[in-house]
Symmetry: C2
Subunit: 353 residues, 2 copies
């Protein structure tokens, strides 16, 4: 085995400079404690020459702090979450923090395993897109002095700060847009509604349909494992077939996420059903891929990257200022009109004749 140079510590530097370790610590950690200019320069010089790298373990053990935050998401391969994480990571870096990313893969056990590992690493802040619907864990974390922010998932747990989207409003906006375009038979295609967010989108859809006096058409998947974007894509294809088989003659479909929508478009196209001419398709998420397909996907945008930025900023503020009052931020949806939705001239049941 290779021999490696021993790491240089403040004691080494202290010896070389004929000062105490305390003094070295004071200058190297930018303490405001007074140290004479001459000593300061001398120490700085030696530190530079010896390539001194501070050991955060010692520092953090002593001060009981941490410059690492934990992030738990279902899967980093989901482009929505990878954007969120990028937002988190970039703002963390600016404040000299570092992030540990954990993929829970929609497995509650994995999620708590990860959280335990993070606790052992003495992480003091956590951003989590939880899949456990039991809010007890959050309470427990709070008791341990961990600051946590829940994102993307409307958790039932009280007493916890969260950043969410207004899924209900998003669902309404999407549906109203389709209605405004003259559609009357509008189907909602969704992966299994085992998540609050999906139920909320559905609620928004229902409300918008109701206020327009239209009858909802729900097509729901049975299974769900979107740790893999492809599975959402496949689910979309399956749901499209299911829709066709149901013979409800929808002129527009609205899906619970973009991947699903892309699957739907793919399936319809391959059956020579033209999108949007015969069936309009509206997604939900605003991921990049939506712009790359044909036709470009009309969708509801969730500001993913911004959500990450905001979550991280709020978290670091909480951790440093001990500014501990809870908050709940609700990000607003935004309609992105592209070309997968087309207006339907008055030819349906409700049109004048």
């Amino acid at each position: 085995m290779k021999r490696m140079k021993k790491k240089v510590t403040i004691h080494d530097i202290a010896r070389m400079a004929n000062v105490s370790a305390a003094t070295v610590s004071r200058v190297l950690s930018n303490s405001d404690y007074p140290v004479s200019q001459s000593l300061r320069e001398k120490i700085l010089k030696i530190a530079a020459e010896t390539n001194y790298v501070p050991n955060l373990l010692g520092k953090q053990l002593k001060k009981n702090t941490s410059t690492t935050i934990g992030v738990v998401v279902p899967s980093i391969v989901n482009p929505f979450y990878s954007s969120v994480i990028l937002g988190i990571e970039q703002t963390a870096r600016q404040r000299k923090y570092t992030v540990i990313t954990c993929n829970s893969m929609h497995d509650p056990e994995l999620e708590s395993e990860y959280i335990r590992m993070l606790m052992e690493k003495q992480v003091k802040g956590l951003i989590i897109a939880s899949i456990a619907n039991d809010g007890g864990m959050f309470k427990q974390l709070a008791d341990m002095g961990i600051h946590v922010i829940a994102i993307d998932q409307r958790v039932d747990a009280e007493g916890i700060s969260k950043i969410d989207f207004d899924f209900v409003k998003g669902g309404q906006m999407a549906t109203r847009h389709l209605i405004d375009k003259g559609h009357r038979r509008i189907a909602y295609l969704t992966a299994r509604m085992d998540r609050p967010s999906r139920r909320s989108i559905f609620r928004g859809y229902q409300e918008a349909m109701k206020e327009a006096g239209l009858e909802p058409i729900l097509v729901e998947a049975n299974a769900d494992d979107d740790h893999n974007p492809l599975s959402d894509f496949d689910t979309g294809r399956a749901l499209a077939r299911k829709l066709l088989a149901a013979k409800v003659q929808a002129t527009a479909v609205f899906t619970c996420n973009d991947m699903l929508a892309i699957g739907v478009i793919n399936e319809l196209s391959s059956r020579n059903i033209r999108v949007p001419e015969e069936i309009s398709v509206m997604g939900f998420d605003g991921i990049d891929v939506g712009q790359m397909i044909h036709p470009p996907l009309t969708t509801i945008k969730q500001p993913d990257y911004e959500m990450g930025k905001m979550a991280c900023t709020m978290l670091l503020n909480m951790m440093n200022n001990e500014n501990n009052h809870q908050f709940e931020i609700i990000l607003q949806p935004k309609l992105i009109e592209r070309q997968s939705v087309v207006s339907r001239g008055g030819h349906s049941e409700t049109s004048g004749r």
Copy 2:
């Protein structure tokens, strides 16, 4: 500020059990040091009741180890890298390791800033898809006793373990496939060739063209910042226009990555040039989105997820066994035939007549 319970340590448990901290340490850290069964049970019981969570900082400071590995990639938003990271993260978890992900955004300064942060955190292992072409950093890390594995980027640095693809062979395979399909005028469209991998793919293309007696057609972009997949997509569109303007009458194009290919297809389609009937398109990467577009993209698959798994496995083995002999693994490309490439009946210059 809320009052939080003090964290329980082995000393607390020792006091409650009327034993020494040493004994507690021995049982709670699964030492093979002998402890009587009665004491062991007593301690375990108390630990469970008090929700004891070991402090890894103390442990790692003492033993000078770390269960965190660092990963540096250009951008997690790039689906190729997010798959790699998922592979890394999942195998790390199985061995109770945790990963810190860093996005260098193709900025060498950011890259070294991150590496410094990781050093301060006493990380002992690093997987890095570097963008710095200077190999000096690797040498320096090795001297500090850090185990590092370079991936995806054929670094010039000697004395470092790496996992790469055979980009040259990938370029050949793609090109030969197009040639086998009867194409003669085959263009290579690439983002700026400032990365070894892209130059290697180009080399493979050149070799295959040469051995078939065909003349290469190179279309290269000027700028390059693919921290954002959309920019590769846009680059692809731009290159497609450039190709068309050049009036070289290519019947097939081969691109340096899938995003680019998708951009090309998009641009061609929007100009009513049919893919693959008029122009065949071949990508490189094998990312999921390739299956979601129309037509599904024929491409060269890089085993991204497997690469992450392998890199992490090798790294952990190196770290634990001190099994320090260097290695270089070259993963082999695989052709995935889908529908963006079609065979060209004998109507070109070389066909019989």
